[in-house]
Protein backbone atom coordinates (compact mmCIF):
# COMPACT_ATOMS: atom_id res chain seq x y z
CA UNK A 1 0.00 0.00 0.00
CA UNK A 2 2.54 2.58 -1.08
CA UNK A 3 1.96 6.25 -0.47
CA UNK A 4 -1.41 5.82 1.25
CA UNK A 5 -0.12 4.78 4.62
CA UNK A 6 -0.62 7.05 7.61
CA UNK A 7 2.72 7.44 9.33
CA UNK A 8 3.71 8.75 12.69
CA UNK A 9 5.88 11.79 12.20
CA UNK A 10 9.11 12.47 14.06
CA UNK A 11 9.76 14.49 17.14
CA UNK A 12 12.25 17.08 15.93
CA UNK A 13 14.71 19.04 18.07
CA UNK A 14 12.81 22.30 17.56
CA UNK A 15 9.32 20.98 17.64
CA UNK A 16 7.01 18.07 17.78
CA UNK A 17 5.18 16.91 14.75
CA UNK A 18 1.91 15.14 14.43
CA UNK A 19 0.98 12.60 11.87
CA UNK A 20 1.26 12.45 8.18
CA UNK A 21 -0.71 10.78 5.50
CA UNK A 22 -0.41 10.95 1.80
CA UNK A 23 -2.17 9.74 -1.26
CA UNK A 24 -5.93 10.01 -1.25
CA UNK A 25 -6.09 11.55 2.24
CA UNK A 26 -4.91 14.84 0.80
CA UNK A 27 -6.69 16.86 3.48
CA UNK A 28 -4.39 15.35 6.12
CA UNK A 29 -1.41 17.42 5.19
CA UNK A 30 1.89 17.08 7.04
CA UNK A 31 2.72 19.96 9.30
CA UNK A 32 5.15 20.69 12.07
CA UNK A 33 3.77 21.42 15.51
CA UNK A 34 5.78 23.26 18.12
CA UNK A 35 6.16 21.68 21.52
CA UNK A 36 3.33 22.80 23.72
CA UNK A 37 3.88 24.06 27.27
CA UNK A 38 2.25 20.92 28.58
CA UNK A 39 4.87 18.83 26.83
CA UNK A 40 7.62 20.75 28.60
CA UNK A 41 5.98 20.24 31.98
CA UNK A 42 6.86 16.60 31.82
CA UNK A 43 10.55 17.42 31.68
CA UNK A 44 11.08 20.60 33.69
CA UNK A 45 14.64 19.59 34.45
CA UNK A 46 17.04 19.51 31.49
CA UNK A 47 18.96 16.69 33.12
CA UNK A 48 15.82 14.60 33.32
CA UNK A 49 15.08 15.35 29.71
CA UNK A 50 18.59 14.29 28.78
CA UNK A 51 18.12 11.07 30.70
CA UNK A 52 14.80 10.55 28.97
CA UNK A 53 16.40 11.03 25.58
CA UNK A 54 19.07 8.54 26.57
CA UNK A 55 16.35 6.08 27.50
CA UNK A 56 14.72 6.63 24.14
CA UNK A 57 18.00 6.02 22.43
CA UNK A 58 18.40 9.69 21.53
CA UNK A 59 19.93 10.28 18.15
CA UNK A 60 22.16 7.27 18.42
CA UNK A 61 19.69 4.71 17.19
CA UNK A 62 21.61 2.24 15.07
CA UNK A 63 20.62 3.11 11.56
CA UNK A 64 22.63 1.57 8.77
CA UNK A 65 26.28 2.47 9.11
CA UNK A 66 28.43 3.06 6.07
CA UNK A 67 30.98 0.32 5.64
CA UNK A 68 29.08 -2.34 7.59
CA UNK A 69 28.42 -5.62 5.96
CA UNK A 70 24.81 -6.52 5.26
CA UNK A 71 24.75 -9.07 8.05
CA UNK A 72 26.15 -6.65 10.61
CA UNK A 73 23.61 -4.03 9.62
CA UNK A 74 20.81 -6.55 9.64
CA UNK A 75 21.85 -7.80 13.04
CA UNK A 76 21.99 -4.27 14.44
CA UNK A 77 18.58 -3.48 13.01
CA UNK A 78 17.12 -6.60 14.54
CA UNK A 79 18.57 -5.59 17.89
CA UNK A 80 17.12 -2.12 17.45
CA UNK A 81 13.65 -3.47 16.63
CA UNK A 82 13.85 -5.78 19.64
CA UNK A 83 14.79 -2.85 21.88
CA UNK A 84 11.90 -0.75 20.58
CA UNK A 85 9.51 -3.66 21.07
CA UNK A 86 10.74 -4.09 24.62
CA UNK A 87 10.25 -0.40 25.42
CA UNK A 88 6.79 -0.42 23.84
CA UNK A 89 5.80 -3.47 25.87
CA UNK A 90 7.13 -1.85 29.02
CA UNK A 91 5.18 1.34 28.32
CA UNK A 92 2.02 -0.62 27.59
CA UNK A 93 2.41 -2.87 30.62
CA UNK A 94 2.85 0.15 32.86
CA UNK A 95 -0.18 1.90 31.41
CA UNK A 96 -2.29 -1.25 31.72
CA UNK A 97 -1.20 -1.76 35.32
CA UNK A 98 -2.02 1.83 36.22
CA UNK A 99 -5.35 1.46 34.45
CA UNK A 100 -6.23 -1.73 36.31
CA UNK A 101 -5.25 -0.20 39.62
CA UNK A 102 -7.39 2.86 38.93
CA UNK A 103 -10.36 0.70 37.99
CA UNK A 104 -10.00 -1.39 41.12
CA UNK A 105 -9.78 1.76 43.23
CA UNK A 106 -12.89 3.17 41.58
CA UNK A 107 -14.80 -0.02 42.20
CA UNK A 108 -13.61 -0.16 45.80
CA UNK A 109 -14.92 3.36 46.31
CA UNK A 110 -18.25 2.11 45.05
CA UNK A 111 -18.11 -0.77 47.49
CA UNK A 112 -17.57 -3.31 44.82
CA UNK A 113 -14.91 -5.82 44.10
CA UNK A 114 -14.17 -7.80 41.02
CA UNK A 115 -15.65 -11.26 40.81
CA UNK A 116 -13.01 -13.94 41.29
Amino acid sequence: MPNTSPKLRPITPGGFSGSETSGHHAEVSPHIIELTPSSHEVFPNPTIELEHRRELGGGSLPLAVVGESFNETSSRQQAWVAAVAMRADHAAATAVTLRETAITDRLSEQGLRRAA
Binding site: E27, V28, W80, A88, A92, T94, A95, L98, R113, A115
Partner: protein
Amino acid sequence: MLRKTLDIVLGRQAADYLLGAMPQFGGNQYQKIEREMIAKEAVVGATVLGQAPAGHTRQFFCLDNHTWIWNEQWIDTHGKQRSHQVQYDVRPDVILKRINGGSPLKLGDQELINFDQAVSRYYHEVATKVYGRSVVTA
Protein backbone atom coordinates in the same frame (compact mmCIF):
# COMPACT_ATOMS: atom_id res chain seq x y z
CA MET B 1 -25.31 -23.18 50.45
CA LEU B 2 -24.94 -21.02 53.55
CA ARG B 3 -24.75 -17.97 51.36
CA LYS B 4 -27.91 -18.88 49.47
CA THR B 5 -29.75 -19.61 52.68
CA LEU B 6 -28.74 -16.28 54.21
CA ASP B 7 -29.68 -14.48 51.02
CA ILE B 8 -33.14 -15.98 51.21
CA VAL B 9 -33.61 -15.51 54.92
CA LEU B 10 -31.97 -12.13 55.48
CA GLY B 11 -31.85 -10.67 52.04
CA ARG B 12 -28.73 -10.08 49.96
CA GLN B 13 -27.60 -6.82 51.59
CA ALA B 14 -27.86 -8.15 55.11
CA ALA B 15 -26.10 -11.32 54.06
CA ASP B 16 -23.30 -9.25 52.58
CA TYR B 17 -22.97 -7.34 55.80
CA LEU B 18 -23.06 -10.47 57.90
CA LEU B 19 -20.45 -12.27 55.84
CA GLY B 20 -18.28 -9.17 55.55
CA ALA B 21 -18.37 -9.51 51.85
CA MET B 22 -18.44 -6.73 49.34
CA PRO B 23 -20.97 -7.15 46.61
CA GLN B 24 -19.48 -8.34 43.38
CA PHE B 25 -19.95 -6.86 39.99
CA GLY B 26 -20.12 -8.45 36.62
CA GLY B 27 -17.70 -7.87 33.79
CA ASN B 28 -19.84 -5.10 32.37
CA GLN B 29 -19.08 -2.63 35.09
CA TYR B 30 -15.36 -3.33 34.93
CA GLN B 31 -15.41 -2.90 31.18
CA LYS B 32 -17.42 0.29 31.44
CA ILE B 33 -14.83 1.89 33.71
CA GLU B 34 -12.03 0.44 31.61
CA ARG B 35 -13.48 2.14 28.54
CA GLU B 36 -13.65 5.42 30.46
CA MET B 37 -10.00 5.12 31.46
CA ILE B 38 -8.92 4.24 27.93
CA ALA B 39 -10.85 7.24 26.62
CA LYS B 40 -8.91 9.47 29.03
CA GLU B 41 -5.64 7.90 27.98
CA ALA B 42 -6.58 8.33 24.33
CA VAL B 43 -7.06 12.07 24.78
CA VAL B 44 -3.65 12.45 26.39
CA GLY B 45 -2.18 10.03 23.87
CA ALA B 46 -3.49 12.17 21.02
CA THR B 47 -1.35 15.06 22.24
CA VAL B 48 1.70 12.84 22.04
CA LEU B 49 1.29 12.80 18.27
CA GLY B 50 1.04 16.56 18.10
CA GLN B 51 -1.88 18.81 17.34
CA ALA B 52 -4.44 17.20 15.09
CA PRO B 53 -5.35 19.04 11.90
CA ALA B 54 -8.41 21.26 12.22
CA GLY B 55 -11.61 19.25 12.26
CA HIS B 56 -9.88 16.00 13.11
CA THR B 57 -10.59 13.85 16.12
CA ARG B 58 -7.56 11.85 17.11
CA GLN B 59 -6.98 9.08 19.62
CA PHE B 60 -3.82 7.22 20.47
CA PHE B 61 -3.72 4.62 23.21
CA CYS B 62 -2.51 1.19 24.19
CA LEU B 63 -5.28 -1.35 24.04
CA ASP B 64 -3.42 -4.07 25.90
CA ASN B 65 0.16 -5.11 26.64
CA HIS B 66 1.07 -5.58 22.99
CA THR B 67 -1.40 -3.50 20.97
CA TRP B 68 -1.45 0.22 20.22
CA ILE B 69 -4.20 2.07 18.38
CA TRP B 70 -4.07 5.33 16.49
CA ASN B 71 -7.53 6.39 15.36
CA GLU B 72 -8.34 9.54 13.44
CA GLN B 73 -11.68 10.81 12.13
CA TRP B 74 -12.55 13.84 10.06
CA ILE B 75 -15.07 15.18 7.59
CA ASP B 76 -13.72 15.52 4.09
CA THR B 77 -14.41 18.37 1.70
CA HIS B 78 -17.51 16.56 0.43
CA GLY B 79 -18.97 16.34 3.92
CA LYS B 80 -18.28 12.64 4.14
CA GLN B 81 -17.08 11.09 7.38
CA ARG B 82 -13.58 9.69 6.93
CA SER B 83 -11.40 7.78 9.31
CA HIS B 84 -8.38 5.63 9.58
CA GLN B 85 -7.46 3.26 12.32
CA VAL B 86 -3.89 2.10 12.61
CA GLN B 87 -3.23 -0.86 14.83
CA TYR B 88 0.32 -1.58 15.94
CA ASP B 89 1.05 -5.12 17.05
CA VAL B 90 4.25 -5.32 19.06
CA ARG B 91 6.07 -8.62 18.86
CA PRO B 92 9.51 -9.41 20.22
CA ASP B 93 11.21 -9.25 16.83
CA VAL B 94 8.93 -7.06 14.75
CA ILE B 95 6.32 -4.33 15.03
CA LEU B 96 3.47 -4.65 12.57
CA LYS B 97 0.90 -2.07 11.63
CA ARG B 98 -2.46 -2.62 10.02
CA ILE B 99 -4.38 0.24 8.49
CA ASN B 100 -8.14 -0.19 8.68
CA GLY B 101 -7.68 -3.90 9.18
CA GLY B 102 -5.58 -4.32 6.06
CA SER B 103 -2.47 -6.36 5.51
CA PRO B 104 0.25 -6.09 8.14
CA LEU B 105 3.19 -3.85 7.31
CA LYS B 106 6.55 -3.92 9.07
CA LEU B 107 7.53 -0.78 10.88
CA GLY B 108 11.02 0.35 10.04
CA ASP B 109 13.46 3.23 9.76
CA GLN B 110 12.04 6.64 10.67
CA GLU B 111 8.58 5.34 11.44
CA LEU B 112 10.03 2.93 13.97
CA ILE B 113 11.89 5.81 15.63
CA ASN B 114 8.66 7.80 15.72
CA PHE B 115 6.75 4.93 17.24
CA ASP B 116 9.47 4.43 19.83
CA GLN B 117 9.32 8.06 20.86
CA ALA B 118 5.53 8.17 20.80
CA VAL B 119 5.05 5.19 23.13
CA SER B 120 7.77 6.35 25.51
CA ARG B 121 6.19 9.79 25.71
CA TYR B 122 2.76 8.17 26.14
CA TYR B 123 4.12 6.23 29.10
CA HIS B 124 5.23 9.44 30.83
CA GLU B 125 2.27 11.61 29.87
CA VAL B 126 -0.44 9.10 30.74
CA ALA B 127 1.17 8.14 34.04
CA THR B 128 1.42 11.79 35.00
CA LYS B 129 -1.73 13.32 33.58
CA VAL B 130 -4.25 10.50 33.80
CA TYR B 131 -3.08 8.59 36.86
CA GLY B 132 -1.19 11.27 38.77
CA ARG B 133 1.92 9.13 39.07
CA SER B 134 5.44 10.22 38.40
CA VAL B 135 7.52 7.70 36.57
CA VAL B 136 11.20 7.21 37.14
CA THR B 137 13.42 7.67 34.16
CA ALA B 138 16.46 5.43 34.15
